[in-house]
Amino acid sequence: MLLRVLVFGLLQGFAVLLAELHRYLGVHTDEAKYLLNIPYPHPPLMRWILETTDGWQHQEIFWRIVFASLLTQGTWFVWDMGRKLHKDQRVTLCGLWLFSGALLLQAGTLFMPTITAIETLFLCWILQRIEFLKRWSALIPLLWLEMLFVAYQGILFAPLIFVALRQSGIAPWQRWSAFLIPIGLLALYTPTNPLTIVATGSVSGMSMGMPLEESVARVLKLWVIGGSMALSVLGLYGMVKSKQYPLVLTLMLVTAYIFVGFRSFYAILFTPLLIAGLLSAPKLLKSSAFLLALQIAAGTAIFLYVPFPEYSSARSVGDALRVAGVHGDILIAGSFGHEWQYLMPGPVKRYRPDFTNDAAAIVCLDRCVAIDRQAWQRFPQTTEEVWVKIRD
């Protein structure tokens, strides 16, 4: 028991460290979108949950710790999935999860694939616990509904859901309704949010026109990050060798999805599938000490050498304006991400010279024309060109 408490504490400490790292790095435009419940691109469930804490001063770090904890504490599922293995092999399996490049890079970020990944890990775990699955068959339709209304990429895991429903021993009509109704509801929801369609189109359009070899290289890079190479290779080999077709099909769907709409934070979608793939051919875990050492080295190298996304100066500008007591509309010139909405002390509008009468500050990410220097003064000590209204 004491050992379990100690491991729990260590995993939690690891989660807090990674969450703090990402808080230090900054807020990504997609993270701000979820924290503020800006209605695209994903369905509303998780962003609505995040938004309920919008008034909290420490909202951002709270959710970073929660998301990171879900991933690190997911190790308990991995531990249980390997219950038929030798203890050394179980520890190695947990090490493969914890030191996958995707977990190291993404624990502490607030992207939806993190949630999808932990849901997938739970699904892979429950598929190994048939007795539990039969006793709690109703969890699968609820999980399916939740997965789809958290993020569109949940649909990629339909083969695993279908297998889980089949193995749960419920009547065929119940199985088909539980499988199809959540998909139908998502299909019904999508046209009610036209922004989603536009955003999804623009993301998939990003890969259009890119040379084939470059698109393939990007997918391969995420597959390597997803398992820190050792798990990437063994997980894939394991699922193919043991003919785990639902896993292989799901992996193919994830690969196709990333191929069409690449985002660096999709790497985590591979990780639970690779763990399940490796477990389906446990003989591959024979040299477990070597494998664990290799994974730790590769994971650390990925963490150190794969660059984090670039963040804007929104936090420093926002903090400076807050310290200066600026309240009211903030006008921003040039293109900007949603993190500016999240971090500014007031509502954000696009800059136009005729809006300046009602504004409190102007941030010039692009050239600002016609600023009246009688009414506005340049704000010192910020990386961007910022103007605040001169008080009477």
Partner: protein, 103 residues
């Protein structure tokens, strides 16, 4: 509570949640049914882009509530930390004025 009752309860939660989502979404879809027409859709899109540019609004702050043959009703919500300023406005597609929803 035994396992069977718990199972029944969870299945009940699934059916009721699905029904509730279906009803809410169907209601929203009904109010936006005119968007199924390509010409209306493109007219609404152009109108919202023009209004957003004129007002300095962000497109992502505008949520369509309903569409009629001559106007679109949107909620403009300035997303920020804490309470978001929200206003419901009616935009006639001919004049692109901003009118309160109650007008």
């Amino acid at each position: 509570m035994d396992n069977l009752s718990m199972q029944k309860l969870l299945w009940g939660v699934f059916w009721i949640t699905s029904l509730a989502i279906g009803m809410v979404v169907a209601g929203r879809l009904w109010h936006m049914r005119l968007l199924a027409d390509v010409s209306v859709r493109s007219r609404v899109q152009q109108s919202l882009q023009l209004v957003a540019k004129r007002e300095g609004w962000l497109i992502s702050d505008m949520s369509i509530r309903s569409v009629t043959p001559d106007a679109v009703i949107i909620e403009h919500r300035q997303h920020m930390r804490g309470r978001d300023p929200r206003v419901c406005v009616r935009i006639p597609l001919g004049t692109l004025e901003i009118l309160p929803c109650t007008s």
